[in-house]
């Protein structure tokens, strides 16, 4: 998959920008289209997809580019959401936490803090997890995520099992975030910013090193790169992106609960990345759209949609190696490598 990302000429680069501009214009116009065809619920669905695309893209940095199969991505996503939930709770009650008055309902305050705190969690637990590799890494990231899950379940002061309600979305100056389409555009803005950052990262020297680590960590070590700090930095950035997504989702759903960091959520992020094609920049967005679209469609059809989604997933993994692009290749009669 990643081998397709060879250097391109300037002509094709400008074509890429044109495609991006057209897609963006269409995405920005989506709330109008949704209203025009009488499906205003589509905007809310698109907001969810946009937010989850941020989460999936940040997992893609670790999983697709650096080869770190993290099965605990939902933990950072949940931590980001809880930062918003907890700050809102303190804003409403006015109680200080450990003597600090941390309450806020300003998105420009909560969002950076959510990103920062998710990053801190990813730093501490990532530093431990990265001592292992391979299957141990998968198991340990899953186990740490589950540890945080149980911690928030037990955290009765902030709702425990029942979660926290964020009665009103965090506010932005001059912008009414309570309006559905407006909040969609806010999320779209952050998604564009995050994808732009990802694109800068993967084309930078740092990104090249990550790519090298994925292909052969031993080779990178042999040419004199100390890989551990690179992997840790990548893991932390990935956690920060998940925190951003979690904070936006907490505002979108106006609800935070431990379920957001349930291990099935981590699994869904991984599926999005693989569906879209690991190690391709916009694959994560496509994967998020396809998975959430499929889930919504199947759920409208039957309550037991997972009976269908599960086998679909198994078939997809067995028969198409590169997610959606592999499927397209398969349908065209081509061979998977």
């Amino acid at each position: 998959m990643a081998d397709l990302k060879t250097t391109r000429g300037p002509a094709s680069a400008s074509r890429t920008y044109a495609v991006i501009a057209i897609v963006l214009a269409m995405l920005a116009a989506l709330p109008f289209i949704a209203d025009a065809i009488g499906q205003p619920a589509l905007t809310s669905l698109a907001t969810r997809i946009t937010i989850l695309a941020i989460g999936a893209a940040s997992l893609n940095l670790a999983l697709g580019y650096c080869g770190l199969v993290s099965f605990g991505h939902a933990a950072w996503y949940g931590v980001g959401a809880y930062v918003v939930g907890i700050m809102y709770r303190h804003y409403v009650t006015g109680d200080p936490l450990l003597g600090l008055s941390i309450g806020s309902d300003q998105l420009l305050v909560t969002l950076p803090l959510a990103i920062l705190i998710s990053g801190l969690f990813a730093l501490v637990l990532g530093a431990l997890s990265l001592r292992t590799s391979g299957v141990q890494f998968i198991m340990i990231t899953l186990a740490f995520a589950q540890m945080l899950f149980f911690f928030f379940v037990a955290l009765k002061a902030y709702g425990g099992d029942d979660g926290l309600i964020v009665r009103r979305r965090n506010a932005l100056p001059f912008i009414d975030t309570r309006d559905g389409p407006t909040y969609y555009w806010v999320c779209l803005f952050f998604a564009v910013a995050w994808f732009a950052l990802m694109s800068r990262i993967v084309t930078s020297r740092f990104g090249r090193v990550l790519e090298g680590i994925r292909q052969s960590e031993r080779r990178m070590a042999a040419i004199g790169v100390s890989t551990y700090p690179y992997k840790l930095a990548c893991f932390v950035i990935s956690g920060m992106g998940a925190g951003l997504a979690g904070a936006l989702m907490a505002n979108h759903a106006r609800f935070v609960s431990p379920d957001m960091m349930h291990w099935t959520q981590s699994g869904e992020f991984m599926i999005m990345v693989i569906l879209g094609g690991a190690g391709t920049l916009f694959g994560a967005a496509a994967g998020a759209a396809v998975l959430i679209g499929l889930e919504t469609q199947l759920a409208a059809w039957t309550e037991h949609w997972q009976v269908i989604l599960g086998p679909l997933l198994v078939l997809m993994i067995i028969f198409t190696r590169g997610g959606l692009s592999g499927l397209v290749r398969l349908l065209r009669g081509g061979r998977n490598e």
Partner: protein, 304 residues
């Protein structure tokens, strides 16, 4: 003092259950190189099959083998249709495909049995409790679990160390291709081994049935603890799985039993209970972090 012994026994009982699951998981990984998330589903399937048969026939002695065989059979089918295609793939594909299997099995179980938990009576001949020594009484059923678990551990050791099948298993773990080159039908061996792992998981499910509620999602809860066991013990090592399972079982049980009263002495109010509950739930994961700090490959790694 008697409470301490009782809780220690509870810990050992949880430990042997975790061992049954971890042994299958670690064997399958060590020999076939497959990480099987759906291992917890086999535990759930064993428990549900047992509960269903027990409620139909009223006999635990019929229900227990039924649960074992169902788990084993479904495990072999799973290997034949799905896992077999994943041997040559990387762990990521294995994780995602078996994640799909979990979604399928969980929802299918909801479809068949509903979301309400099933309850199973402890069989009559294992009811009640006996006096161990002094004033320590302990339920017979839990003693039976410990006994069955330990016997299975010994049996597994003898199977791997003393039989021809075990020799092939060990050879397969060391060098898969060489075993195949020597004319062993490795596919059959793998299917059989997967069935064995599934039956061990099913056995844990069958024994858990009467003391836990049999419900959807029970598999994943125990699966993640099993991962902790495998990481602590060392991936691929059955001996490590046993040691890890005992440590995790006893530590988890002890923390849940004694942390709340320790916290209540240090601080007051309901905060103490909530905090203690949080910390005792996190305890084994912190233990895992500690082990990894000292020994990144676990206490008893299989290779080197």
């Amino acid at each position: 003092m008697s409470l301490l012994i009782e809780q220690a026994l509870n810990g050992v009982q949880l430990g042997v259950m975790l061992f049954l699951l971890a042994a299958g998981l670690t064997l399958i990984f060590g020999i076939m190189g497959v990480i099987n998330l759906a291992h917890g589903s086999l535990y759930m399937i064993g428990a549900f099959a047992m509960a269903w048969v027990a409620n139909k026939t009223g006999s635990f002695l019929i229900a227990a083998p039924a649960g074992l065989l169902t788990a084993g059979a479904i495990g072999m089918l799973m290997e034949f249709f799905v896992i077999r295609k994943l041997y040559a793939r990387d762990h990521l594909d294995q994780v995602l495909a078996t994640f799909g299997l979990i979604l399928f099995f969980n929802q299918l179980t909801v479809l068949l049995f509903g979301r309400q938990p099933l309850f199973v009576q402890i069989p009559g001949f294992l009811e009640g409790s006996i006096l161990l020594f002094g004033d320590v009484r302990y339920p017979v059923y839990r003693i039976a679990i410990i006994a069955v678990g330990l016997l299975t551990a010994i049996g597994l050791y003898l199977l791997i160390a003393r039989t021809r099948l075990g020799m092939l298993i060990r050879a397969g773990a060391t060098n898969r291709d060489m075993v195949r080159a020597l004319g062993v039908d490795i596919r059959l061996l793998y299917t059989a081994l997967f069935g064995l792992g599934a039956m061990l998981a099913g056995l844990a499910g069958v024994m858990a049935g009467p003391i836990l509620s049999v419900q959807v999602g029970m598999g994943e809860q125990v699966l993640i603890l099993t991962f902790v066991v495998v990481v602590i013990g060392g991936v691929g090592s059955v001996r490590g799985a046993f040691v890890g399972a005992m440590i995790v079982g006893v530590v988890d049980t002890m923390l849940r039993a004694f942390l709340p009263q320790t916290f209540r002495q240090l601080m007051t109010g309901p905060d103490a209970d909530a905090l203690a509950a949080g910390f005792s739930a996190m305890g084994v994961y912190m233990l895992m972090a500690l082990v990894l700090l000292v020994k990144p490959k676990g206490l008893m790694p299989a290779h080197g």
